[in-house]
Amino acid sequence: MIGNDIVDLAQACRESNWRRKGFLAKVFTDSEQQLIQSSSNPDVLVWLLWSMKESAYKVIVRETGQRFFAPQKLACHYANIQTNMAEGSVFYQKTYATKSIITTHYVASVAFPENPDQVFTHEIVTFDRTNYQHQHTRIREKINQHYVTLFPNAGSNIHIRKDKTGTPTLTGSDLSGKTIHKPISLSHHGHYGAFASFY
């Protein structure tokens, strides 16, 4: 199971004021708040930690079928943080591993169970416009292009279906006509989108 999340840093700056009173306390654990307060680049760290939590949350929803909104209950740790990437983990009843890409424009994270025996794909998509319909259409075009080899029979007929929790699955037919269901995770924010799945 895999989950991902992307944050457009300029968009986040416009639409979320994490410095407002009470915000950090609702989202972050005490030790995460200390990391943010002592960081030389808190604007990036806030959204790095957020995207780690959000991507792990998507794995949890896929595993449990239950949605909830408790970002503070998902505790982040990072083992390795550099200017362009971070590797860490999120703990919620068990540990989920995370890998994040950091650029000046966005932060994009992927979460998966510890020690996965599969490699994953993680693709970033850029959007000319930031309205929901454009993001929705464009990310599906990119997904069709990316997975066309997996579903050679389907061509443009690859579908993304969401269950009642909103969790997406990619559905199409292989060469023999057999239907394949592939768990996929999608995220979009502002000018950026991303999708991730195991190969």
């Binding site: 639409e15 609702k26 909830f68």
Partner: protein, 85 residues
């Protein structure tokens, strides 16, 4: 004390700036989901919780925020917190 309709009207005013699907917002019911239906960014759910606290002068503890995913659950939480005041 506000009636339930007044409370929903106040909640709609709070939620409006964060909505990304105006059509879904025009047809809000108690079942309307903030993220899946109104396409509200999940980080803005924190803002909605903080705005609700200010507007109603209540505190939304984390256990309550955990289930604040729909208009109906938000109304229930606000009603409960107002009753406890």
């Amino acid at each position: 004390m506000q009636t339930k309709d007044e409370l929903i009207a106040t909640l709609k005013t709070i939620v409006k700036p964060y909505v990304q699907d105006e059509q879904a917002f025009a047809n809000v019911t108690e079942k309307t989901d903030f993220i899946n239906d109104l396409k509200i960014n999940s980080a803005n759910l924190v803002d909605i919780a903080l705005d609700v606290e200010e507007a109603f002068d209540i505190e939304i503890d984390n256990a309550s925020m955990e289930r604040m995913l729909t208009v109906g659950s938000a109304v229930d939480i606000i009603t409960q917190k107002l009753a406890e005041k």
